[in-house]
């Protein structure tokens, strides 16, 4: 298992009981999201994952600054010290 740092912006901290920087273990994004769901329960899970267990379209996940949509989505591998960041998916050109 890799030790990963998860960064949550203020506008999304409602899902993590206010926690903004979280140390957690997992070897893929899916494992880390699953561990976060276990720690923070349904309020985290329903905000981050859709009914099929995929990340919801309203947010983006970044591993070391790179959008996981351009890596391997939930199957993106994580190593020790990697950073997983959540951000709202908004843009206006």
């Amino acid at each position: 298992m890799s030790n990963v740092k998860v960064v949550i912006p203020a506008v999304m901290a409602s899902a993590t009981r206010g926690d903004r920087v979280i140390e957690i273990s997992g070897t893929t994004v899916a494992e880390v999201v699953s561990a976060l769901s276990a720690r923070y329960g349904e309020p985290f899970q329903r905000r981050v994952l859709d009914a099929e267990g995929k990340p919801r379209r309203v947010l983006n996940l970044y591993v070391n600054g790179k959008n996981v949509k351009f890596l391997s989505d939930l199957e993106t591998q994580l190593g020790d010290g990697d950073e997983l960041m959540l951000l709202p998916a908004v843009s206006g050109g």
Binding site: P9, A10, V11, M12, S14, A15, R46, R47, V48, R56, R57, V58, L59, N60, Y62, G65, N67, K69, F70, L87, P88, A89, V90, S91, G92, G93
Partner: protein, 404 residues
């Protein structure tokens, strides 16, 4: 304006610096109590010819907050020569190349910087593919606010010069627009910046719906049959649909059956691809490659909402390549006297393609939104062939040139 409302779960919030629903992380939109808004066609008659003529439908509470450079109420240009060339009878160009900083982005930037002032923010910024950088910077200058713009390093030089001259701090990112967007979002939170298309986005997008209001008013309060919208993030397209909806809801137009078509460049067409392939989901483009750099948004924030709006309206999605964009720049300039940038003229290029495909009836009343000025992207046009030969100032040389 009564509230911000989540587009996904409809939960409402006060009209402050919120942009994401706490409950479901959906984007927030401004909602109004239409039943309490008393506006008639005559309400607007004697007002200034800029977007603030529709202030009842814009999200600013105190008129003293308004930061105005005169954006909006741009010409709706009857394009008979272009129409004849394309085989149409009723074609108009909504010429947003003539806004204060020469793109439609002055509309949302004017609203967003006004809101930043109303909310008491001390600095603003934006990630941008180029045009929003200048629009934000100019309105920030007018408001006396510091401005930070985040751009991909490879946007057109004229756009960097322009934004920089208004006094903005230019942060050129070694990456794409999506990288710039991510960094700006983090900076907004860390430094308490009003990111016009980030944490002020719900207010910002309201400015763009005036492109629908004006077209209705300029056509004598009759909506067009079909509009074609250059599409990057999808925000403009969604705002235009909201504008037509609001005018119908308020009884200012009788019906709203406007078909809305999305125009994107080949090389960055995630929304058009979803439309053409019958998908509801949008597959992002990691490395956009297109002459239309202002539309090079690979992961469009409003992509799926734009797809839904086009489908519901009965419109289409179509894309064009760089050469078709260059041809459209020349065609629009040489038939109608309007000089547009590639991202702004993509609507005209797509119109031509939709006509060829038999998707537009010759008698439809069509409006092409042309959203950015050609002087911002001189390098987009092939320089060879337009450099004039230098001649002696003698009358006899003209015999070779003026053949009549």
């Amino acid at each position: 304006m009564i509230a911000l409302q989540c587009r996904e779960c409809q939960r409402q919030y006060p009209t402050d610096l919120s942009y994401v629903c706490e409950e479901c992380f959906g984007p927030l939109d401004v909602v109004y109590d239409y039943s309490k808004l008393v506006v008639k066609r005559e309400t607007f008659e004697d007002r200034p010819k800029n977007l603030w003529r529709y202030h009842e439908l814009l999200p600013i509470e105190d008129k003293n907050s308004i930061v105005d450079l005169g954006a909006g109420y741009t010409p709706l240009h009857r394009a008979d020569r272009l129409a004849k060339r394309l085989g149409l009878q009723n074609l108009f160009i909504k010429n947003d190349t003539v806004n204060p900083t020469y793109s439609f982005k002055d509309r949302p930037a004017s609203v967003a910087v006004s809101k930043a002032r109303e909310l008491g923010l001390s600095a603003v910024g934006s990630p941008s593919t180029g045009n929003l950088a200048s629009a934000t910077a100019a309105h920030a200058a007018r408001a006396g606010l510091p401005c930070y713009v985040f751009i991909p390093f490879d946007i057109e030089p004229a756009k960097v010069v322009q934004a920089s001259t208004y006094g903005a701090e230019i942060i050129a990112i070694n990456g794409t627009y999506d990288d710039a967007n991510k960094l700006a979002s983090q900076a907004g939170e860390l430094y308490n910046l009003g990111i016009v298309n980030g944490n002020i986005r719900p207010y910002y997008v309201e400015g763009s719906k005036t492109l629908a209001f004006e077209v209705c008013e300029q056509l004598g309060w009759i909506p067009p049959d079909h509009v074609i919208v250059p599409t990057g993030s999808g925000a403009l397209l969604c705002a235009i649909r909201k504008g037509f909806y609001e005018f119908e809801r308020l009884g200012l137009i009788k019906s709203n059956e406007v078909k809305i078509s999305s125009a994107q460049p080949v090389g960055c067409s995630p929304i058009v691809d979803a439309l053409q392939q019958g998908r509801t989901s949008v597959t992002p483009v990691e490395r956009p490659q297109t002459l239309a750099k202002s539309l090079a948004i690979g992961d469009p924030g409003d992509g799926e909402f734009a797809v839904k709006n086009v489908r519901e309206s009965g419109g289409f999605g179509e894309k064009v390549n760089d050469e078709e964009l260059r041809q459209a720049i020349h065609l629009l300039a040489s038939t109608e006297g309007i000089f547009a940038e590639p991202g702004g003229v993509v609507s005209v290029a797509v119109l031509s393609k939709l006509i060829d495909a038999g998707r537009i009836d010759p008698d439809e009343l069509v409006v092409c939104y042309v959203t950015g000025n050609g002087l911002k992207t001189p390098e987009a046009i092939s320089i060879e062939g337009i450099q004039p030969a230098v001649v002696e100032p003698k009358l006899e040389v003209l015999a070779q040139i003026i053949r009549r």
